[in-house]
């Protein structure tokens, strides 16, 4: 690991940390425009995070150390994922530390910690949220892995840099499998990032919450870290989607010039992706929780279909 490689790695992580709240702000703004509402400021998420960090943390009487540790672990797992996902460049030093399967494992680690912390205080809403989160997760995780497996089978590797390089350099043929995988990935991303139609990030009705129900007991810096981690998760999923389905422009190697060239392109792609997300959220309605298995089951089947299509037609 060279010093400049390490610095590029830190740069990518810093870009992820800085851009993630902006992406959330952008999606909220687009959604407000699409719904004919007055839009909140673009930089509101940063201000919220700063405000939360300044406040005194209020912790419930029955909370254990696990409750206080969880926001840090979740944030750490999301940072680790952000270092691994090729967003600016492919050949970064940490990229080889975890492949696509390990990346999904990292997301699962964060989910498990946050679900356990939700059960820690012993409130009705906390355990309800934990149960629903694990319920959505056990269906979404296999679907996400199947999408990644399809890309892995195409490129003969589960290593994300290799996948991106292969997909970016393929001849201009059409991969029908990637079309199915793309739809499945979009559905999984909506579910995993607590978006409509599975969850509603703007809800104020406790009974329909999933993610919000789990973090109800958190306040101040703990909540700030969890919000930041959630924004990073959205950023990571967006970057995985871009890496799989729009890989052109990601720097190959880890030189500064390539990364500098890749950055504006990344911002443009994320802006477009964020607008698409806001559009999907505006055009669809939230599902009942027991319709979620159908939604995610469809995603899972589409991902398996993508794999079969690849095996049947493309190999």
């Amino acid at each position: 690991m060279t010093a400049s490689g390490f610095l590029s790695q830190l740069l990518q992580l810093a870009v992820a940390l800085a851009l993630a709240p902006l992406l959330v702000g952008w999606v909220n703004q687009c959604r407000a425009w699409l719904q004919n509402r007055g839009a909140p400021p673009l930089l509101l998420p940063y201000r919220t995070i700063h405000k939360l960090f300044s406040k005194d943390a209020v912790v419930a009487h029955g909370a254990s150390p696990l409750f206080r540790l969880t926001p840090y672990v979740v944030f750490g797992a999301m940072c680790c994922a952000a270092a691994i996902v090729p967003s600016l460049a492919t050949d970064l030093p940490f990229a080889r530390a975890a492949d696509a399967i390990a990346l999904v494992g990292l997301f699962a680690l964060a989910r498990m910690f946050i679900a356990l912390a939700a059960m820690d205080v012993g409130t009705a809403f906390g355990s309800l949220g934990a149960r629903r989160e694990m319920f959505v997760g056990f269906l979404a995780e296999p679907a996400l892995l199947m999408v990644l497996f399809t890309a892995s089978l195409i490129s003969g590797s589960t290593s994300l840099p290799t996948i991106v390089e292969t997909l970016a350099h393929r001849e201009l043929g059409i991969y029908p499998s990637l079309a199915f995988a793309g739809v499945a990935f979009t559905m999984v991303s909506l579910a995993e990032n607590a978006r409509i139609p599975v969850d509603n990030p703007a809800t104020h009705l406790e009974l329909t919450m999933i993610h919000e129900a789990m973090v109800l007991e958190y306040s101040a810096r703990h909540l700030a870290l969890l919000e930041w981690a959630a924004a990073l998760k959205l950023f990571n999923y967006s970057c995985i989607g871009l890496a799989l389905f729009l890989p052109a422009g990601i720097a190959e190697g880890s030189d500064w010039l390539g990364m500098a060239a890749a950055a504006p392109l990344l911002v443009a792609k994320l802006a477009a992706g964020g607008f698409a997300l806001a559009l999907i959220e505006t055009l669809s309605a939230k599902l009942r929780i027991f319709r979620a298995p159908e939604f995610l089951g469809t995603a899972f089947m589409l991902a398996v279909l993508a794999m079969l299509v690849h095996l049947l037609l493309e190999s």
Partner: protein, 671 residues
């Protein structure tokens, strides 16, 4: 096979360990009621023997096979013993897990109205010794003797609390299925010897089996060892027997005894049988994945913490058998490197499961001692009262859920690599099937995370559901040491997979012919089975990055802002009348799974009407296979017994007539 490899130090040491365990057991038998002596002297000595055995076996992993003929047994049937990489690896599992479990037992066994402590000590050490004997046996005779002693000693251990009728019933079911399996294994050896009449394993290796006989032998082995391992549909004894047994025994049975069945399957499948047919692999793969899904779905619906863990063992056995199936499939097509990855994943997972399942069963033992409660509905909030047990159990929970950077993830990762990189298999439908079957494995793994959140969240987190839980106490010192050692093993195996797989290399070469790691790829830090371009995983880096971010974040928050904390009542959306009964129960947490997988279960619901003064809701979860398969067989057996029972008239004259008729018939035939 070399003609007659000389016995080595390691083989002698293994035999000495078996002897030492038997002696310890015999001493315990001589002092049946002296609890202090048994628990303060004999169990620690048993623990030391386990540690020594693990160390010796670890050192012997890359030794050449050593054999010895013992002058024991029947006059012309001496015992053959052999120590090769496969035996040595499973001896490591037995020694390491046995060591920790014996240490835990120091503080566990109390005098009760069940079996006397000295007798438990005898049975426990006989159980350990017979498992070790199974692993070194080199002929069918010694193997069956050890196998049956293992079944019998564990049966008596399961029925330690033999005054409770359900426990006697669970023990009977276990014994019955263990013997069904033993018959199949005996028949399998009968087929393998190929008519030569020589039951030494060496003779079986050189025997030539014609036609369908190898397949018959393989499926007899799959049935026989599957009965011991809890493979579908022979799994019903496992969720009955594991909760019935004392916790250290459950840990030993689940952590180690199930692995002897995996050992047997590997021994017959990869050592004694001359070749593999591809469809054996497909059958084992399908059966394994079905078992895994079945086990994990049932685990999600359980309300007894030990039953939940028992079903999770069924899931893990399913994963192991699926891995074996995959290895067979690849080696049948001559794809040695992939077979090596699958075989390594199987061995790694066997080791992992021995560690984390022992850890969790021992943790339930501590909980049981502290609270006298096994039902999840009456636990909760134990993380405050039992921080050591809760901390170690958290490591086990994360490991068994297959999360990086712990050990459960490493073996699942390896197995998925084997699933994914199926190059062109000749059978095109198998070629399609294998990656799609990976979906089933992934689904089982994701459900395992659900189950483990339920287990840990309901037992250790939240508010205590019963007032009595406030008096719960943490585990004693020996128990803590045992739990911490097992948890440390989970972390070490998770963070350093490269060196561990390097150690397993002789075993992989024995099973698949080539090592799992391509030479020159990866390092002690980076695990890269085929090449770094294909797939790589460096758990230490992941752990360090997460830990660094956590520490930096804590420091930065303190530095830039402040670290003030205020304690207050829970918010819960402003609801002030929170009681422990408002938390999710185990039934509630499992409800979504019950609803999604409804066809798996046989549910009997009792719903209250709006007019009930004291409304009661109850749901009983039954196993469809029990009703569809076991009860008809039991009814048929009973009907047959009733017919045969007509012969029993209870009058001596009738029996004399029977003897007379028998004599006549014999005279007629023998003439």
């Amino acid at each position: 096979m070399s003609a007659d490899p000389a016995p080595t130090f390691a083989l002698w040491a293994t035999l000495a360990a078996i002897g030492a365990w038997l002696v310890l057991g015999a001493i315990g038998l001589a002092a049946p009621r002296r609890l202090r002596f048994v628990s303060r002297v004999l169990f620690p000595l048993g623990c030391a023997v386990g540690a020594a055995l693990a160390a010796v076996a670890l050192a012997a992993l890359d030794d050449a096979p050593a054999t010895l003929v013992l002058p024991l047994g029947l006059p012309d049937l001496p015992f053959h013993v052999r120590l090769d990489a496969l035996s040595a690896f499973f001896l490591v599992i037995l020694g390491a897990a046995g060591c920790a479990i014996s240490l835990f037992s120091v503080g566990y066994f109390r005098s009760s109205d069940g079996t006397a402590p000295g007798l438990v000590c005898f049975l426990y050490h006989a159980f350990l010794a017979s498992m070790a004997a199974v692993l070194v046996a080199d002929d069918a005779y010694l193997f069956m003797v050890a196998w049956e002693s293992m079944a019998l000693s564990s049966y008596f251990l399961v029925t330690t609390e033999h005054r409770i009728p359900e426990i006697r019933r669970a023990g009977f079911l276990y014994l019955l299925i263990a013997h069904l399996g033993a018959i199949a294994i005996l028949l399998c050896f009968g087929v393998l010897q190929g008519g030569s009449g020589d039951y030494a394993f060496d003779a079986m290796r050189s025997a030539t089996l014609a036609g369908a006989w190898p397949s018959v032998a393989f499926f007899l082995a799959l049935f026989g060892f599957g009965a011991k391992a809890g493979l579908l549909p022979l799994h019903v004894w496992l969720p009955e027997a594991h909760p019935a047994a004392p916790s250290p025994v459950s840990a030993l049975m689940s952590g180690v005894m199930l692995k002897t069945a995996i050992y047997g399957l590997l021994r017959v499948g990869f050592d004694l049988l001359p070749f593999h047919a591809w469809w054996w692999g497909v059958v084992a793969l399908a059966l394994g994945l079905l078992t895994a899904l079945y086990g994990v779905v049932f685990a999600a619906a359980q309300t007894d913490m030990k039953r939940l863990l028992a079903y999770s063992s069924i899931e893990n056995i399913g994963i192991l058998v699926a891995g074996i199936g995959l290895a067979i499939l690849f080696s049948a097509y001559g794809m040695a490197p992939l077979a090596a990855i699958a075989a390594t994943a199987v061995c790694y997972h066997a080791l992992n499961h021995a560690l984390f399942k022992s850890l969790l069963f021992l943790a339930t033992g501590s909980v049981l001692h502290a609270t006298r409660e096994r039902s999840l509905g009456r636990l909760g909030g134990l993380i405050h009262r039992m921080p050591w047990v809760a901390g170690c159990a958290l490591v086990g929970t994360l490991a068994i859920a297959g999360l990086p950077p712990l050990n459960g993830f490493v073996s699942e990762w390896m197995l998925l690599q084997a699933f994914l990189f199926t190059p062109r298999l000749p059978q095109s439908f198998v070629n399609m099937l294998v990656p799609v079957l990976a979906a089933a494995l992934v689904l089982a793994a994701a459900l395992a995370a659900y189950v483990m959140v339920k287990f840990y969240g309901v037992v250790f987190l939240g508010q205590p559901r019963e007032p009595g839980l406030a008096n719960a106490h943490d585990a004693g010192r020996p128990e803590r040491v045992a739990l911490v050692a097992l948890a440390a093993g989970c972390v070490a195996l998770g963070v350093f997979p490269g060196p561990v797989i390097g150690l397993l290399e002789p075993l992989t070469v024995m099973l698949a012919g080539v090592p799992a790691l391509a030479p020159g790829q990866g390092s002690w830090l980076l695990l890269a089975p085929i090449s770094e371009q294909r797939a790589s995983y460096a758990p230490l880096v992941v752990l360090v990055v997460i830990a660094a971010v956590v520490l930096l974040a804590i420091a930065a928050v303190r530095r830039l802002w402040h670290g003030r904390v205020r304690r207050a009542p829970p918010w819960d959306c402003g609801f002030p009348l929170l009681t422990p009964r408002m938390q999710d129960t185990a039934e509630g947490f499992g409800q979504p799974i019950r609803q999604v997988f409804e066809p798996f279960f046989r549910m009997e619901r009792e719903l209250p009407t709006p007019f009930d003064a004291a409304p009661r809701y109850s749901v009983t979860i039954g196993d469809r296979l029990w009703h569809a398969l076991y009860l008809p067989v039991a009814r048929a057996a009973e009907a047959a017994a009733r017919v045969v029972g007509r012969l029993q008239q209870g009058r001596i004259s009738v029996y004399l007539v029977y003897s007379f008729l028998t004599l006549l018939a014999l005279l007629f035939f023998v003439r």
